[in-house]
Symmetry: C2
Amino acid sequence: MVRAGLTVDRLTMAGAELADEVGVENVTVAALARQFGVKDASLYFHLKNAHDLRVRIALLALAELADRVAAALAGRAGKDALVAFANAYRDYAREHPGRYAAMQIDLDPQTAAASAGVRHAEMTRAILRGYRLAEPDQTDAVRMMHSTFHGFVSLERTGGFRHTPRATDDSWSRTLDALDAVLTNWPSR
Amino acid sequence: MVRAGLTVDRLTMAGAELADEVGVENVTVAALARQFGVKDASLYFHLKNAHDLRVRIALLALAELADRVAAALAGRAGKDALVAFANAYRDYAREHPGRYAAMQIDLDPQTAAASAGVRHAEMTRAILRGYRLAEPDQTDAVRMMHSTFHGFVSLERTGGFRHTPRATDDSWSRTLDALDAVLTNWPSR
DNA sequence: CCGTTTGCCTAAGATGGCTAGGCTACTACC
DNA sequence: GGTAGTAGCCTAGCCATCTTAGGCAAACGG
């Protein structure tokens, strides 16, 4: 009897692939076990439970996305950086819808603090160096940017823009123009 | 043997309440049946299946939210209307997290077209009358607004802003200021 | 008051999450 | 190279949920 060679990492990877194919909600311990040709119960040697699996997928996705964004950001500043960040974010979400959805699950505070989510925050803040915003405006701007990106990508994915013919790519680039404009000229109190 | 008096509406209502209490993912046919003191199977006389239940909750939430927004919008224009819309939206999401989450499930195109989601789109567009934007800028602006609202609310709910001490209420109102600014001065190509 | 419809029931299969406990392949160490 | 010991997977079995099929009783219309 040959062993399947399960590891937490392989399971997480396979789970991430599965998520992109069939959606996070269908990433089940049973389905994963089937893929590896083992019994469900065997996975519990590596995973605490089903939720643990999804959290791991989320953390993987956060790290992958952070890497992409970091690469996109290298050597850029100002609007150039803003657009590169935004496109990296959106592209990742479209290539990996399941992983992106997995990223949305609630992480408990400590897990979140140890995740690549903090890198996202740092990088977002780095973009703002090109726009010379002082606190607390900087924090507000970071939150607005993040909201816009996440909101757009998430609405696009769930078909929220379907009812209007206008190409979403165009709306996206105009939204980035608008974001650049408002960051350049952040309204003072 | 007294009948429980189940109806689709009562089930949907109860499901919505349940969603706010324990989250949509825990709105199960079984749990709902328990609440009404009937057997699981009985619900299938009124509901097609579990997904049908969640869709109905989503449609209920969309309609409720549209009503609220309509009320908030009455007699307002310009930034006043923008802020009223945004606050109605955010308040609803915070009072009814489960229903808000339910709203995010994919509706098939026909269902979506027959939902109160179209009222949302109309009302969002109505706000822009105060900002004198022609197409296609109007569509782009509608999408950006919607993205910002949804993104902010959704990140706030999943704790995406937790890592920075700044009060989210403040960031919210500054984000609305910024949105107003960019709508007032929409960047031309 | 009697048939028809409506509303809820029991029964039962499928799938998934998870635990307890057993057996076997590897690994390390003498 | 034998032999602990541990790591990896298995069987068995429980409970919850979803769903279908078919039965029976309450409500209601004529």
